[in-house]
């Protein structure tokens, strides 16, 4: 009995140590952000006075009003577009068994392994030809498309996991395809849809390479892309950089804390089902 208790203590000691290793960098970052702008900071040190004004300063210097607006425009457009396309496609592949459905399914899954680097060059020139660089539509289209393989795959496996009797019962009641989807399947898909939405929001928010290539206009860039350039300008101003970093991650961290279950289910299940 005693050995199992000490085993448990040891396990928690390991867990706490590992959690500290993950959290310490962020503690260091937050402390740095509270030092006087432009001052030299030591790794882990409490500031003499807390310089909360750094956040206002970083917001202003980094042009965060524009960056945040762009980030939210792109993310709030990408999430529903991706979801609608993924729901329709997943429903079709899992329930309606379309002609060449199996091949199309593989065609989408293929996209899970394609890196952004493969498409970003040609996408830039293609969009430039039609005047869609420096345009939200270009970035939104790119992001939605990059995340569609995951979305379709996620919704397809969700619908496939629903009991076939549901679909049969709907059919017997005379429901057409769209009614079946809207009245029978979607009302039972809340958790799966929430997970898809928070993951697409996160991946869209975090997208970097695509945005710096397709958005040359600094005012139209998203928060992480703006932060990536901010580093170049304020290399040595650690407090200001730290404050800008915290502003950039704040929305995603808040989302993560609220929808923590969905994020984790999505990251781990999405991975496992493959």
């Amino acid at each position: 009995m005693r050995s199992s208790t000490s085993g448990l203590v040891l396990r928690y000691a390991i867990l706490i140590l590992l959690a500290l290793l993950i959290l310490l960098p962020f503690v260091s970052l937050v402390l740095a952000a509270l030092h006087e702008s432009g001052s030299t900071v030591a790794g882990l040190a409490l500031p003499e006075t807390f310089h909360w004004e750094n956040f206002a300063l970083a917001w202003q210097e980094g042009g965060y009003t524009n960056l945040m607006r762009s980030s939210f425009i792109v993310a709030l457009a990408a999430v529903p577009i991706n979801a609608i396309c993924a729901i329709l496609a997943g429903f079709s592949l899992a329930v309606l068994h379309p002609w060449i459905g199996k091949q199309l399914s593989v065609f989408f899954v293929l996209g899970l392994t394609l890196p952004v680097e493969l498409i970003v060059i040609a996408l830039y020139f293609n969009l430039r030809n039609v005047g869609l660089t420096n345009n939200y539509l270009g970035v939104i289209g790119g992001v939605v498309a990059l995340l569609l393989p995951f979305g379709v795959y996620w919704m397809q496996s969700h619908f496939a996991s629903m009991p076939p009797s549901l679909v049969e019962a709907g059919r017997i009641d005379g429901a057409g395809d769209l009614t079946l989807l809207r009245r029978v399947l979607l009302p039972l898909s809340g958790p799966a849809l929430t997970t898809l939405a928070v993951l697409v929001f996160m991946w869209t928010w975090n997208q970097f390479l695509l945005v710096i290539v397709l958005m040359q206009d600094p005012a139209m860039r998203t928060a992480p892309a703006g932060l990536g350039l901010f580093v170049g300008q304020y290399t040595t101003n650690i407090p200001l950089l730290a404050a800008a970093t915290i502003i950039t991650v704040a929305p995603i961290v808040i989302m993560y804390l609220i929808f923590q279950r969905n994020f984790i289910a999505g990251i781990s299940q999405g991975a496992i089902k493959e």
């Binding site: 396990r11 390991i14 959290l23 002609w99 992480p224």
Partner: protein, 314 residues
């Protein structure tokens, strides 16, 4: 559409079409063609913004083009460049080294931690899970800036080494000619270890406890039990963790862009960084495209390799 007679025919089963009777096969065929309409929005966007550009990139890789003037055919020259130009092939070697830090070490850490932690830990797991997944949800740009600060002259890493009396080894890690790439790689280890650990732990929880009992009866010690019960039990999770982290290593851009930007003296160049620079600042679109294709091929080869290895171990 709402025809009860066909409802039977298209009963949603995994073995599609098996229940189809000849009598109504034309109805079924019409239905199955109509089902394609639901796929159209996804297909159009996916083809327009991913497949079409991907095919264009292949075409560009056979051209010499600065992005402005008329392109000229280049044959295989751009691909030859990858093998001949040290800047290019070193970037590929660097990416391969990053796999050690992004994949190999995190998977080993994850397996060791699973062996140590498996079992009784219940309370507080939500908290630990939330913390260990945190690096997965943050933009890598932010992770990179955080680590720039940790690695800086006055950062926490040097502070730590000074505190334990190792003043002599303190330095600006990301600016160190010999160590920058390893310092960069370690950020990947930090990011990915928690992911691997949590994936393996949740996989291990699904293993039937009877298997451990059986192993114990056969005289297997704790190590033997983990090698012959836990390890095979979490094989799917090992596969997927390896795939995710290997892609992250090979195609890494954000992290490198904000921490070292390839420096010092190209020591931390990676293919993705060169793809970006060649195409958009140096006007070598063809070479950039060839490198992007090579990178994609490398990713696909590694994904197939990982699947092959983890499957054959069965």
């Amino acid at each position: 559409m709402a025809d009860p007679a066909t409802a039977e025919v298209v009963r949603p089963q995994n073995s599609r079409g098996r229940t189809t009777s000849r009598r109504s096969s034309s109805v079924t065929r019409r239905r199955r063609t109509k089902a394609l309409v639901y796929l159209l929005p996804a297909l159009l966007i996916y083809i327009g913004f991913v497949i079409y550009p991907a095919v264009n990139t292949i075409q560009l890789s056979f051209l010499t083009w600065d992005g402005v003037q008329a392109p000229t055919p280049a044959g295989l020259d751009n691909y030859a460049q990858i093998f001949q130009n040290p800047e290019l092939y070193r970037s590929v070697l660097n990416a391969l080294l990053l796999i050690v830090f992004f994949t190999v070490i995190p998977v080993i850490v994850g397996l060791v931690m699973t062996a140590l932690l498996i079992g009784k830990v219940r309370r507080g797991m939500t908290f630990f899970r939330t913390v260990f997944f945190l690096p997965q949800v943050l933009p890598l740009v932010a992770v990179g800036i955080t680590w720039r600060w940790l690695y800086a002259d006055t950062g926490i890493i040097n502070q730590f080494f000074s505190a334990i009396g190792l003043d002599s080894i303190t330095r600006a890690w990301l600016g160190d000619y010999d160590l920058a790439l390893y310092a960069l790689g370690f950020i990947g280890t930090w990011c990915m270890s928690g992911l691997c650990m949590m994936l393996f732990l949740s996989g291990a929880q699904k293993i039937d406890p009877a298997l451990y009992e059986a192993a114990k009866i056969d005289g297997a010690g704790p190590l033997r039990q983990h090698l012959s019960v836990t390890l095979p039990g979490v094989r799917p999770e090992i596969t997927i963790a390896s795939v995710i982290t290997t892609i992250a290593a090979l195609a890494s851009f954000d992290l490198v862009f904000v921490t070292t930007n390839g420096g010092p003296a190209n020591q931390t160049n990676v293919p993705a960084l060169l793809v970006y620079r060649l195409a958009f600042t140096r006007g070598e679109v063809g070479t950039a495209s060839a490198l992007a294709i090579a990178l994609t091929v490398l990713v696909i080869i590694f994904v197939m390799l990982i699947r092959r290895i983890t499957r054959e171990a069965r």
